[in-house]
Symmetry: C2
Subunit: 139 residues, 2 copies
Amino acid sequence: MNNRELDKKLSLRKIKPTAVRELVLKVLTEEKKAVSLSDLEHKFDYADKSTLYRTLKTFEEKKLIHSIDDGSGTLKYAVCHDSCECNPNDLHVHFYCTRCKQTFCLNEVSIPTVNLPVGFSLESVTMVVKGVCSNCRKG
Amino acid sequence: MNNRELDKKLSLRKIKPTAVRELVLKVLTEEKKAVSLSDLEHKFDYADKSTLYRTLKTFEEKKLIHSIDDGSGTLKYAVCHDSCECNPNDLHVHFYCTRCKQTFCLNEVSIPTVNLPVGFSLESVTMVVKGVCSNCRKG
DNA sequence: AGGGTAATTGCAACCGGGTTGCATTACAAA
DNA sequence: TTTGTAATGCAACCCGGTTGCAATTACCCT
């Protein structure tokens, strides 16, 4: 993905394009797996942790990416699809592979509806499946 | 719940009963909400953090309690039902109230089955619903 | 182009949950 | 009572996440 495309993606979400933001978005879009803050730190030796942190926060706020708590203790991030507003019906299942320790979006697997007890209201749902991914099972 | 009952619960899970363990289990069984390590620290000024930590770990290992990652950043714990082996079919949905910041087991709400893409195997599933609990909606 | 303002970035330090090593104490078996 | 093992307490550490502040950069207006 070239810079013009990246800038367009940023602008669509009302995020001012900067060099760091382009690079972070590039990594996030090109990675098949969800990416953590420390992943980014290691990818860009020159960029500061807090800059990267704030970049992720900005992206998340503007719904360019969503965060994933896969239970590993470190938050991961992945790009939202273009029309995503992070509403309950935009949500999908995430998968954590216990072998390669990577986390993926299962974009095609939406979260089943759940019947709450009376009196409970629903704002959002997270669903994380742990197991072994197809790649690791093959290998 | 008296000490004899607590000891029995511990022994059933092959955990040697000690004073600290009785107290921790007592708190865990009497609380309606899931309890964090720091919750325990504040409840027992005298008991050491690492002792409480190791107590929770022991309980979890022996499947007397299960841990809940509700996305708040701090792990919570709740007692398992007597016959629980923490298998996929023992799992239930957890609820995090965004108003009172408390986490509950919805023991009666089991986790729906989910269709994984081909090649993926399933070991466990976590499902956390965020919203407002019935208590907070009444108030 | 130049000046002023706001946003972004970098640095350093901090915070809190989780975790570990090691010394001490309690307990149980011989 | 002695001896070995498990539990506890204390201190320190690790790491992800977060913040304050200063330095830099981008942007807008004239």
